[in-house]
């Protein structure tokens, strides 16, 4: 069977859609989980803080590939048949939440302590302090590094090809085997990721410059 260049590009674009979808799911779900994790990480309870810290350490200190395998084979232990897509989405969500929580913790901690004291003196509860005083200010600082981290999420999706999720890298691998043109195909695959990631990198840099402009 012969592949024209258009056949190759068409198939890669189909794979790229799955890369994009997985990135979005992981980023949105990871963001929500990351926010909960952040609340635990900076809570009053020592137990919650410790648990959140261990979780973050675990996901930042082990390869994403192993996390994927653990989810993939771990869920199977319960007798649940898990698809590559589900395993990929769950593992990447967990991975993303750990990194986002740690990034956001840095942003919350960069808010001057006086802001906590001032809002505390207004008899606000801890959650109210976060909701009305701390998080709105931390959010401003958090935008640039959060957008920057989204690049890592998009690149992370490539690892899911190993458990058989047919995204861009996996599609490229199958095409390379069928056409015997790995140089061309992996080159195009790289271009595909670059097209997704470079605008994100540029936006992160632009946002950082905007927000950290010297007053």
């Amino acid at each position: 069977m012969d592949f024209t260049l258009w056949d190759i590009v068409r198939n890669l674009l189909a794979g790229l859609q799955w890369t994009l979808l997985l990135s979005l799911v992981a980023f949105v779900c990871g963001g929500i989980a990351g926010l909960l994790l952040l609340l635990a990480r900076i809570s009053d309870s020592r137990l919650l803080r410790g648990a959140a810290r261990s979780y973050i350490e675990l996901f930042q200190g082990t390869p994403l590939l192993m996390q994927l395998f653990m989810v993939f084979f771990g869920i199977a232990l319960f007798g649940i048949d898990v698809s590559a897509w589900m395993a990929a989405a769950i593992a990447l969500t967990l991975f993303t939440s750990a990194f986002l929580a740690e990034i956001w913790r840095g942003c919350v901690e960069s808010i001057p302590h006086g802001q906590w004291e001032a809002s505390g003196s207004l008899a606000m509860s801890r959650l109210e302090q976060l909701r009305h005083v701390i998080l709105p200010q931390a959010l401003r600082i958090a935008v640039a590094p959060t957008v920057g981290f989204s690049v890592q999420v998009v690149k992370g999706t490539a690892v899911t090809s190993i458990i058989g999720f047919t995204e861009l890298t996996k599609t490229g691998g199958m095409l390379a085997n069928a056409t015997f043109e790995p140089f061309l195909i992996y080159g195009l695959v790289a271009v595909g990721y670059f097209v997704l990631c470079y605008p994100l990198s540029l936006s992160a840099r632009y946002l950082e410059r905007r927000l950290h402009a010297p007053a």
């Binding site: 350490e57 675990l58 930042q60 200190g61 082990t62 390869p63 994403l64 590939l65 192993m66 996390q67 395998f69 653990m70 084979f73 771990g74 199977a76 232990l77 319960f78 007798g79 690049v151 690149k155 992370g156 999706t157 490539a158 690892v159 090809s161 190993i162 890298t169 490229g172 691998g173 390379a176 043109e181 790995p182 140089f183 195909i185 992996y186 080159g187 695959v189 790289a190 990721y193 670059f194 990631c197 470079y198 990198s201």
Partner: protein, 214 residues
């Protein structure tokens, strides 16, 4: 859960896992030495705006930082033979790690150079510190240590081109004893220990290099 955990078939192959772990550490060591060397060179070229090399390094940094490591690895291992460049599994793995870390460390060290106010360099000179000593502070920074750990953990995907590192050993063992979960659980734990150790080692090395002999 009716599943019975059984770690003994994995532990029986513990030697293979340790060999894999040692090979991962070796790959990381070589990758770090050459990667950071590229980073120092790239950062200086970029900071001094040496044309046309600064633009080339800029392109290199953007290309590498905006594509996944596994695609870089596949391109080197499967793609380059088309140009007549044939590498063994471990050579391809090392090359990919060097190129990857080289790009990140170029950016990290360059940012470090830019962040030093001029007065600090003058202060360093006033304290009779050589330029080299002042530069060491720029290179040996926490951001670089984190990136080295990230590259080490990322090297797990090298098992896909049959580089016989830690995750390759894990794949090998679980394909024989069918204890996938137990095998990967132990392997994950091993990676975690390695990440913590390497981080501590780099922090110790950084302190020692910066504060003098302790």
């Amino acid at each position: 859960m009716a599943y019975q955990f059984d770690f003994s078939p994995v532990l029986a192959q513990g030697g293979l896992l340790l060999e894999g772990a040692v090979f991962t550490l070796e790959l990381t060591l070589i990758g770090t030495l050459f990667g950071v060397a590229i980073g120092v060179l790239g950062a200086l070229v970029r900071a001094w705006r040496l044309r046309p090399f600064d633009a080339l390094f800029g392109l290199y940094v953007e290309l590498i930082r905006n594509t996944p490591f596994i695609v870089q690895l596949f391109f080197i291992f499967f793609g380059l033979p088309a140009l007549g460049v044939r590498l063994t599994e471990w050579q391809a793995a090392v090359l990919a790690m060097v190129i990857n870390l080289g790009a990140y460390s170029t950016e990290i060290i360059r940012a470090g150079i830019q962040a030093i106010p001029r007065g600090q360099l003058e202060a360093a000179a006033a304290l009779a510190m050589s330029r080299f000593e002042a530069f060491r502070h720029v290179v040996l920074q926490p951001a670089l240590s984190s990136q080295i750990v990230i590259v080490m953990l990322g090297s797990a995907v090298c098992s896909q081109i049959a580089t016989e590192e830690l995750s390759f050993a894990a794949n090998f063992i679980q394909s024989r004893n069918f204890r996938a979960f137990e095998t990967y659980l132990l392997t994950t734990a091993l990676y975690l220990v390695m990440a913590i150790l390497v981080r501590q080692l780099l922090a110790w090395f950084g302190r020692r290099a910066l504060m003098g002999r302790r």
